[in-house]
């Protein structure tokens, strides 16, 4: 375990050094990411600005959902998303073997080496939105904060699972740069109060592809809107991550190395 931490530390150091070498690119890409943050709550801002609302949800409560979504997205973009791009690129060029030859688990190796600071803007934007939202909504209590942390980690597990599923599919669907759009579209259901969707969509977004766990449930916990039964919803989230890990390892076995 100590060895893994040492490797990860080195990879983070390499990423920071790389960002420092291309400072202008690093700053610009983070500013763009930060600007993209404005896009997520824009529709919500304009809807509430027009005097309308999502039934039962105030503006800052919806903003809280979207800020938590952004934060979760930021953390996974920094730590896990690189797996998709590295896998996609290496499968396409046929040199994934290089990763298979490394003396450690390929998935773990990719997690370590794909750490990227380019999503820092997403995290900063998420924290800013979160702060603004929480200042206006308040926090229900200490237990709710603990519940929030557990659910937030579960949501991050779901998001990581999504990235891993995409990466796994890229073994089969070689070089399809639009693969991530499929999962991006599914995540849309996690950016708004689940109550506005039909029951069947709510069920799917809670148990099958638990995108509701990314923003909606953690925000509900912080606002004290959840029942104790919510903690059972962590199970599908963890299973979803495990599915991503399993599928990725399974797909490695199907890798043909064409062009390598």
């Amino acid at each position: 375990m100590k060895r893994f931490f040492k490797i990860y530390k080195e990879c983070i150091h390499a990423s920071v050094t790389s960002a420092a070498a291309y400072r202008a690119d690093f700053i610009l890409s983070n500013i763009i990411t930060l600007l993209y943050n404005i896009l997520l709550p824009l529709v919500t801002i304009l809807i509430y600005g027009a005097g309308r609302s999502f039934p039962g949800w105030g503006f800052y409560e919806v903003l809280l959902i979207q800020s938590i979504f952004t934060l979760s997205n930021g953390f996974t973009s920094m730590t896990v998303s690189g797996i998709l791009y590295m896998t996609m690129g290496r499968v396409k060029s046929g040199d994934y073997e290089i990763i298979l030859l490394k003396p450690m688990d390929p998935l773990l190796y990719l997690v370590f080496t794909s750490f990227s600071l380019s999503s820092l803007g997403l995290i900063i934007g998420g924290i800013a939105l979160f702060t603004v939202a929480v200042v206006h909504t308040g926090i229900a209590g200490f237990l709710q904060v603990l519940e929030f942390i557990v659910l937030f980690l579960s949501g991050t597990a779901v998001m990581s699972g999504l990235w891993l599923l995409m990466a796994a599919l890229s073994f089969q669907w070689v070089g399809n740069s639009r693969l991530s759009e499929i999962f991006d579209s599914l995540q849309e259901f996690g950016k708004y109060p689940l109550g506005i969707f039909p029951k069947i969509v709510q069920g799917l977004a809670t148990f099958l592809i638990p995108v509701g766990m990314i923003g909606f449930y953690p925000a509900s916990a912080l606002l004290g809107r959840t029942e104790p039964v919510i903690l059972w919803f962590i199970i599908p989230a963890i299973l979803f991550l495990l599915l991503g890990i399993f599928l990725y390892h399974y797909m490695i076995r199907l890798y043909k190395g064409v062009g390598g």
């Binding site: 763009i32 896009l39 529709v43 399809n176 849309e188 039909p198």
Partner: protein
């Protein structure tokens, strides 16, 4: 003159066909839209159904108009989608643009022919399947109020999107790395073309400014004409009037692209070719 036009049309047909065949190999990429488009549409459908509640109108749009707007906006997006900026940027970076500067044709015309071929593929693999899903699964009436005007507006939006993206691609002659600028532009275009939300939801001054920017002519105008009425910044216009304005905007975009092209090619060094 007839020979000249005939030659141009033959050329356009050849490049469009070649592009169609080339991208047909990646038709599953286009088919991603068959899943993604309806999912985004479904989200918008549920959002706006919840937001409207029982009320009839919001910013002058009824719920049915809003749903039709998002359906039309998505479909128009498939018809006018463009990546001339990325293509040109790649040609400049790799130095491959050199081969075009040696050919007896304007690169912009070549890029336009490529876009036509690419979008014909989009018509079959993105537009038609999504239209069927919208009509038969979501039960949305996707018949334009004025079919001829809508067709004309979509055609103008097609050219507008092309010229704007081409101008953006020309920036590659001036900047070593233009991907950041193109990302910012795409972000702004997403917001102000009306694909995320109809422009009537923006503050009044922001709506007014859109008359002088290219974005609304790329999506908002054809989507509104599809719905049979046009309003922006408190100004309601007859359809033929806004079509004339859209036409003028396309001409301006064409002229800007020509001026920018002439200034840009002088900077081309062909490094890497």
């Amino acid at each position: 003159m007839i020979d000249f036009i005939s030659q141009k049309l033959n050329f356009l047909k050849a490049v469009a066909l070649a592009t169609y065949k080339e991208w047909s190999a990646y038709r599953t990429h286009s088919l991603v839209s068959v899943f993604v488009g309806p999912v985004y549409f479904a989200v918008q459908y549920f959002i706006w159904t919840a937001v409207y509640g029982g009320s009839n109108s919001l910013n002058g749009m009824a719920l049915q108009d809003m749903i039709r707007y998002f359906g039309a906006s998505a479909l128009i997006g498939y018809l006018v989608m463009d990546f001339a900026d990325w293509n040109l940027s790649m040609l400049v970076h790799t130095g491959k643009f050199l081969t075009f500067s040696l050919r007896p044709l304007h690169h912009r015309f070549f890029a336009l022919a490529q876009k036509i071929g690419h979008r014909i593929l989009g018509f079959f693999f993105e537009f038609l399947p999504c239209l069927v899903i919208f009509v038969f699964v979501f039960q949305i009436d996707m018949m334009p109020v004025y079919p001829f005007y809508t067709l004309l507006s979509v055609l103008l939006a097609f050219f507008m999107t092309f010229y704007v993206h081409y101008c953006l691609g020309l920036l590659s002659f001036w900047f070593v790395q233009s991907s950041g600028i193109r990302s910012v532009f795409n972000l702004v275009a997403d917001i102000f073309s009306g694909t995320l939300i109809p422009l009537v939801f923006f503050p009044g001054w922001m709506q007014f400014v859109q008359f002088f920017l290219p974005f609304q002519y790329m999506n908002y105008v054809p989507a509104m004409i599809f719905n049979g009425s046009y309003t922006l910044g408190g100004v309601t216009m007859e359809i033929p009037v806004i079509l004339c304005i859209q036409f003028c905007a396309v001409i301006v975009a064409f002229l800007i692209s020509e001026i920018l092209y002439r200034c840009s090619v002088r900077r081309f060094t062909g490094v890497g070719a």
